[in-house]
Amino acid sequence: MASRIPNRITIFRVLVHLAALAPLAVLLWDMWEGNLSVNPIQDITFRTGKAAMVLLTFSLAATPVVIVFGFKGARQVRRALGLYAFLYAALHFLTYAWLDYGWDLYLIRLEITEKLYVLVGFAAFLILIPLAVTSTKGWQRRLKKGWIRLHKLVYAAGVLVMLHYIWVQKADIRQPLAWTLFLALLLIVRLPPVRRWFTRRRTRKAVSRRSSRPATKLETSN
């Protein structure tokens, strides 16, 4: 590359990193300023959990965005989004086990067996651990085809997270249902026939756009 002017994709990547770190920054700021509620541990639990859920969903949105809109930048932030989701999930888990229950394993065991949603959330977190560990290029090479198979588990984590999110609600589950629906759409887009349909549609559009444009302009516009 001749110039060092950041291109669109670089800007997009920077924005994604900033957005992913924003919930943490806001949380730390609110802790520092004393803006958390009088039940701060619950506050931290909710916020880290929400951020983990949103980022995990967005990481699962990367491929569908490429399929539907052909925006290649999305693929370049997929791993980062997944790792941020893991960061928040880890904070969420540690807030629960450490801040909330003070590693009281007897109580935690009771709660895990009594509250199904804790078990489901914990299972999702356990799934994310090996995925985070093997997210590097080195592990990708080492595991070869197994890597893809292993990382397909993220779909299971996504579904468990939604179940966890629905089950913690008191009665109004509209918001978690909306996220679940979104996740379902993201999974549907990946189904081979749906995926092919979108790809064909994009190529057709691109072709017709190019052919309708005067040939001389083609060079300068890109």
Partner: protein, 326 residues
């Protein structure tokens, strides 16, 4: 308006409250930065954080808490929560489901004039205004409030036993239950436009529960009139039941023959029962009720049977299967 004078020594001194909060804040921050450091996130273990985590750091010099919150405790010896804690962490879905936002949204809500219509199966149906209700007496009752969400507070209410009002209107022998209703005002209460719930808020008690001396109609808090977020101008307080039974901002009380269906029973019948007695042995179908966090405390506490009022109320439920009648 007249309110019983509570000696100023009994009210949580502001500086103690402040320093306690500062401690919580500092402790939370340190714990969080420790979590982050453990996860390999660099640069977040600032020294400022560890300094402010010292209890009382930044407090007025020499203001060492003597016996914190002396005087104002429940009968188990636990200190009352501060006015700020009680009035800035509220479940009042009529305004919003965000507990920290209720105070702000409820501010300026008109509670005068206010009428409470008492009727149904009674000899003398009557409408009371707040001054009429205050004539039933005003005493301070320091009760624990245990929310179904597994947090709790100790609250110095001002009010009078509901039984006094019921005796005044004379329930007929057919009356088996008391049904309470919150004001319905979707114009000023945006939460009531949420169609997930069947507004207005309804709650109910069995006759013997309603007549129990612990059951309070509260009009005040810390010797002051109730603020709107706490259920002004008059609310129910049933300390041995989960907080949602203690219905706020009451406009109607009816004596009825059939068990009333509360808003929560209607919203999720297999999760919220009519009785809703605090019971560590009976879980909400999805959550455990074994422990709770007392607001202001770091460690969780074990939840007590009937929220610690078993001695007074257990006999009301003798022979009942509390798993079935949850």
């Amino acid at each position: 308006m007249s309110y019983p004078k509570i000696p100023s020594s009994e009210i949580t001194p502001e500086h103690l409250y402040r320093s306690r909060r500062r401690f919580m804040k500092g402790a939370g921050f340190v714990a969080m930065t420790a979590l982050l450091a453990a996860c390999g996130v660099p640069g977040l273990s600032g020294k400022e954080a560890s300094e402010s985590a010292l209890p009382g750091a930044g407090a007025t010099p020499g203001a060492v808490p003597p016996t914190p919150l002396a005087g104002l405790t429940d009968e188990l010896g636990d200190p009352a929560n501060s006015w700020d804690e009680i009035t800035h962490y509220n479940n009042f879905y009529e305004f919003t489901t965000k507990k920290t936002k209720v105070a702000q949204m409820a501010e300026g809500y008109p509670t005068e004039p206010w009428k409470v219509e008492v009727g149904g199966l009674v000899e003398h149906p009557r409408t009371f205004d707040i001054d009429d209700l205050r004539k039933f007496g005003e005493e301070e009752r320091i009760y624990r409030l245990r929310c179904v969400e597994a947090w709790s507070m100790v609250i110095p209410w001002v009010g009078f036993p509901l039984s006094r009002l019921l005796k005044e209107v004379k329930p007929l022998s057919k009356a088996k239950y008391v049904r309470f209703q919150t004001i319905y005002d979707p114009e000023r209460m945006p939460g009531q436009r949420n169609k997930v719930y069947q507004w207005p808020y309804i709650e109910g008690l069995r006759m013997d529960e309603a007549m129990h001396d612990l059951t309070l109609l509260a009009t005040g808090l810390y010797g002051k009139p109730l603020p709107m977020q706490s259920g002004a101008p008059v609310r129910l307080v049933v300390p041995w039941k989960y907080g949602f039974k203690s219905i706020k901002s009451i406009v109607k009380i009816d004596l009825v023959e059939e068990m009333p269906i509360s808003l929560w029973m209607a919203a999720a019948p297999n999760e919220y029962g009519f009785y809703a007695n605090v019971n560590p042995e009976v879980n909400h179908p999805r959550w455990s009720q074994r422990t709770e966090r007392r607001i202001g405390e770091r460690k969780r506490r074990e939840t007590l049977m009937f929220n610690g009022y078993a001695e007074q109320v257990a006999s009301l439920y003798a022979g009942m299967d509390l798993r079935k009648h949850f």
